[in-house]
């Protein structure tokens, strides 16, 4: 028996070394390096009686069915992607109803330690449709990757506060020949002010996940101004700044705002 003791101790030593190495490797590994596999789900739709906000992370079938229905149809790819909430959970992105054809593309899912970061891209067609859609994207993820929270990242603007200039309405670029560009200021205290150079308008807003919600409408002065272009801009500005608007980034400093009209605004 004694002759085996050095071998056992040796084996234990090797195991301790391997264990220590694995522990160190785990500790020094950058948590945001971990890509998490996921499945993009098809053939689901947002129920029209779903109560907003729809959470980004959904962990039970009961909860899922409050927000989504199955759009099963005959033919190729007609079956909804199956989900087993015993083994999986869902991550959902639902954008505001829009009359612009909008497609959402899943880019990546990253484990950042305390949270998962889901990155997606939003493609918005500039042409307005006569009908509206509710853009959505669903992915299913294995339970082993579940974290406390899910952060959604996209080309949707995360921080809209600041002062913006309107450079286009309904895809028609404005010029600064006779009037200055209309401005919109979104203050951090939730106050929004806007002007096309004549009257001033103001109200309150909320912003989250690409949705700019103008609360209770905007109040505005009603002075008549001689410049027709200015009045036209003002009318378009007032018509656009109400209800819920979809906000997506076009570039680092320009943003597409979609409501009754579309606006391109720049910082």
């Amino acid at each position: 028996m004694k002759k085996f003791i050095p071998h056992i101790l040796g084996a234990l030593f090797v195991l301790i070394i391997i264990g220590a190495w694995m522990l160190i490797a785990h500790l020094v590994k950058k948590p945001n390096d971990t890509q998490v596999p996921f499945v993009v789900a098809h053939n689901y739709f947002v129920r029209n009686d779903a109560i907003e906000p729809i959470p980004a992370k959904i962990v039970s079938l009961d909860e899922f069915e409050q927000y989504f229905g199955m759009a099963a149809f005959m033919g190729k790819n007609g079956q909804p992607t199956p989900i087993d909430f015993e083994k999986q959970f869902a991550i959902a992105v639902v954008l505001p109803e829009t009359n612009h054809s909008t497609k959402l593309h899943a880019k990546s899912l990253t484990d950042n330690g305390p949270k998962l970061i889901f990155t997606y891209r939003v493609d918005v067609a500039p042409k307005e449709n006569t009908w509206t859609q509710v853009p959505m994207l669903l992915i299913f993820v294995d339970r082993q990757y579940e974290r406390n929270s899910v952060e959604l990242q996209s080309n949707v603007v995360t921080d809209i506060s600041g002062t913006w200039q309107v450079r286009a309405f309904d895809n028609i670029m404005l010029t600064e020949d006779s009037v200055s560009f209309p401005t919109i200021s979104l203050l951090e205290n939730g106050v929004i002010t806007a002007s096309a150079g004549c009257n001033g308008m103001g109200g309150n807003y909320q912003y989250a996940n690409g949705r700019l919600i103008i609360m209770d409408g905007m109040c505005q002065t009603e002075v008549w101004c001689e410049n027709e272009q200015m009045m036209r801009n003002e009318r378009l500005l007032a018509q656009t700044l109400h209800d819920t608007l979809a906000v997506t980034a076009l570039s680092a400093d320009s943003v597409l705002v979609q409501g009754t009209h579309t606006m391109i605004i720049v910082r």
Partner: protein, 162 residues
């Protein structure tokens, strides 16, 4: 078979066709579509009032009924889980019903419809497997989910011919 505008005088002959189609629908397992007496005589009257009610006749006998209506269809203005193929002017076909012993109605109606429009949009219940089969067989594309005024959802399809 010929297709002509329905008249109010046709209603007594149309309603039994509707009843028979409803019975067949429910008998094939699609028990949630065409319930509570839908489509009622009032609905057919409204189709006729809009010049949108049509009958298919065979040797003078009314063998099928359908509504062929121009856009906009209010319930198609919002679509979920997808998008319509395009924004072309379109017609819708609703309330297609035929006697169970008469075949080839959908072929006949589609041929007739596409002589009048380049784009058709239709919807059907998820349990209506027969209609879904017929829709897909004729080259329609599944576009998404629409909601009826009643709140029920329907599968929505579109076909555009060049």
């Amino acid at each position: 078979m010929t297709i002509r505008l329905a008249t109010y005088e046709d209603i007594p002959a149309i309603m039994p066709v509707i009843d028979a189609a409803r019975e067949m629908m429910h008998g094939s397992g699609n028990v949630n579509q065409w319930i509570n007496g839908y489509p009622s005589e009032q609905v057919i009257q409204a189709d006729i009032a809009y010049d949108g009610g049509f009958v298919v006749t065979d040797d003078g006998r009314i063998v099928a009924y359908f509504a062929f209506l121009p856009a906009p269809e209010p319930t198609y203005e919002k679509i979920y889980d997808g998008a319509w193929l395009n924004d072309e002017p379109y017609y819708v076909i609703h309330r297609l019903a035929s006697w169970p012993d008469v075949h080839g109605i959908w072929d006949c109606v589609l041929k007739w419809a596409f002589e009048r429009t380049h784009t058709l949009r239709v919807d059907t219940h998820r349990d209506n497997r027969i209609m879904q089969h017929n829709i897909l067989k004729h080259g329609f594309t599944y576009c998404g989910i629409i909601y009826l005024l009643s709140g029920d959802e329907r599968l929505a399809y579109q076909k555009t011919i060049i």
